[in-house]
């Protein structure tokens, strides 16, 4: 044990005043987080799996149910969906799956911190591990989903091509964007429960201005709204790579990915800076 020369200093000064140290410590903590994050993810997945007969099947129930509803609505003519580039069932199925991933990613930071509240307010450990653990959990469940997603798409009559190899990257971009948004709202969300309630509401609203169950509108106000919605390129590109169809918004996709990378970095800093203050307010 030769690490006894570590020195820790706590002062009231904002960590932003010493950005070099802030970044150095952030990197060190993320490195230290990896094994803990993995442990926590394994713990949660095992526990979830052990208490349920259907286990991972639940991951498909939501998108399947959603798909069924929309196929029915479309079929009976209650809702008239414009022609989609691929068969409608495959369109809705992939769309809802991607959308669910994004929404879960947004909720993940708040949920992870909430779950660990009891020991977060008592023990000091690299708190970035909670966020990373959330990402690992999503990635693992995603892996299993893909196993079903790809054959399902083929069953609906769509043949994926070599773009399929890019799908993990696209899905990662979706998770990254979600987590970045989640990190930005987490500080306020931990103080006020209102934030946590608004998220599903907004998610519902945004789903209808993103090509998840609807096709891209061909003109009018809605076309503009769809086009400026940053979730649109994410969903379109991911679906296109998954189904081997044309990628209409590749440029926008890359811009969104870069934007969310920046957002993720800022969100991580925000999380790190604000958590001690939040812990103080949570435990009083």
């Amino acid at each position: 044990m030769t690490r006894s020369n570590i020195t820790i200093v706590h002062t009231p000064d904002s960590a932003v005043r010493r950005p070099g140290r802030l970044l150095r410590e952030l990197v060190a903590d993320i490195r230290a987080s990896r094994s803990l994050a993995w442990r926590l993810a394994v713990r949660d997945i095992r526990a979830q799996y052990r208490q349920s007969y259907l286990g991972y099947l639940w991951a498909f129930v939501m998108p399947l149910a959603n798909t069924a509803v929309w196929i029915m609505l479309n079929h009976t003519g209650v809702v008239r969906v414009a022609d989609t580039p691929i068969p409608y069932p495959a369109y809705v199925f992939t769309g809802t799956m991607i959308w669910q991933l994004l929404v879960e990613a947004v909720q993940s930071p708040l949920q992870q911190v909430g779950m660990s509240r009891s020991f977060l307010t008592k023990l000091n450990f690299p708190r970035e591990s909670l966020i990373i653990s959330g990402i690992i959990k999503q990635a693992l469940s995603l892996g299993i989903k893909l196993v079903i997603l790809v054959p399902a798409v083929m069953f609906f009559g769509v043949m994926p091509d070599w773009h399929l190899t890019l799908v993990p990257l696209a899905l990662l971009a979706v998770i990254m964007t979600g987590v970045a948004i989640g990190l930005i709202i987490a500080p306020l969300g931990l103080l006020y429960t209102d934030v946590g309630r608004v998220v599903p509401l907004l998610a519902q609203f945004f789903m209808y201005i993103t090509p998840v169950v609807f096709a891209m509108p061909q003109g009018g106000v809605m076309a503009k709204v769809f086009a400026i919605n940053p979730a649109t390129p994410l969903v379109l590109t991911t679906r296109a790579w998954l189904t081997g169809s044309a990628t209409p918004m590749l440029g926008a996709f890359l811009i969104v990915v870069c934007g969310s990378a920046v957002l993720l970095f800022l969100g991580t800093l925000l999380y790190r800076l604000t958590l001690p203050i939040l812990i103080e307010r949570l435990s009083t």
Binding site: M1, S14, R46, R50, S118, N124, F125, T274, I277
Partner: protein
Amino acid sequence: MSGEAPLIRVEGLSKKFCTDLRTSLKYGVHDLVTEIVGGRRGQALRPKEFWALQNVDFELRRGECLGLLGRNGAGKTTLLKMLNGLMKPDKGRIELHGRVGALIALGAGFNPILTGRENIYVNAAVLGIPRSEVKRRFDEIVEFAELGQFIDMPVQNYSSGMTVRLGFSVAAVLLEPDILFLDEVLAVGDIGFAMKCLNRVREIMANSAVIFVSHNMPMVSAFCTRALVMQRGQVLLDTTDMPQAIDRYIGAFGIDRRTSGSGEAEVLDLRLLVDGRAVNSDDPVVDQGREGVVELTFKVKPGHRARATVYVDDIAMSQVLAVAVKDERGENLVFPPGIHRVRVPLGALEMNMGTYSLLVAISNIETAQLLCREQGMLPFRVRSTNVTWSKIVRDRVSTVLPSGAPVNDAHGG
């Protein structure tokens, strides 16, 4: 070792808390913004705020153990949380040199559905211990926790004792800190296990600076080399004289006076005399082992013939000593209606150091109906220079027997 620089250095540490949740959340948002833009925290109190901790200074070296004493809300946990980096100070500075370990929140991260074995790895990961290290010392942990074959059972089926034993064992076996924080965790499991924990903590203590929060005074006196007595966020006393510290801590407790019974008897006056002198009511201190005498004046209303008993209560209002008021033949003295004055010898006041009070009970001698019960009277402190774990402390001159002499066996023939 004494020439070594301190491992913990705390200077002018202060922390504000808010009494109202909504306002507290609002200030939280304000502090968030201040932190993000790199502003300075306000030093003054805002409305509805108070100092939960104010101007705390101390240094601690390797091999020292600092006890934090104080009533609930004195700021002990707040201080510990700031030391542990869980919240930021509002003023002052903390400097820690070396690896920090904490025996707080035992079993953090346990998932009840998973087995003890799985939870050991999770808990160790939360404490920052690599998996390889846990693997290497796994059997040691299980043995320390005395869990045996139950290690593969879900933790939700554990008794509460088993769960804390497991939590303690993970930390106690794996942690090798330079600085250790302990918060009320040593009273774990049954007495045998508690003793084992204490021994383990003693081992850790030899090589580290320890900060210890406990309300268990015998434990504090057994472990600590120094104490901070805290009251309302401030340090009242910083001393290496443990009996003095404990006496000061105990003195901070008030005792409520309570009257019950039918009201058909009444205590008019009560005095406690030690060595013939009345105990000073401003600073009522009694040295351990002195003879105490109570002078009691009371009134019994018409229609009752009464008997009386004087009790000594400890701080938890449980009775330590009962002295029935008797005559030479061992019969109860009977008090007819009227005013009576009695002198009741309590004998040697051999209670362990702490705060005590007197209780007088007067009841009808035939029906045993309680006429008057006056609790929490004349609170006084028992002072002693040595602290033990027992309720009663009695030093006796003993005789050394020749070691070759046959043992007197009570069962023998």
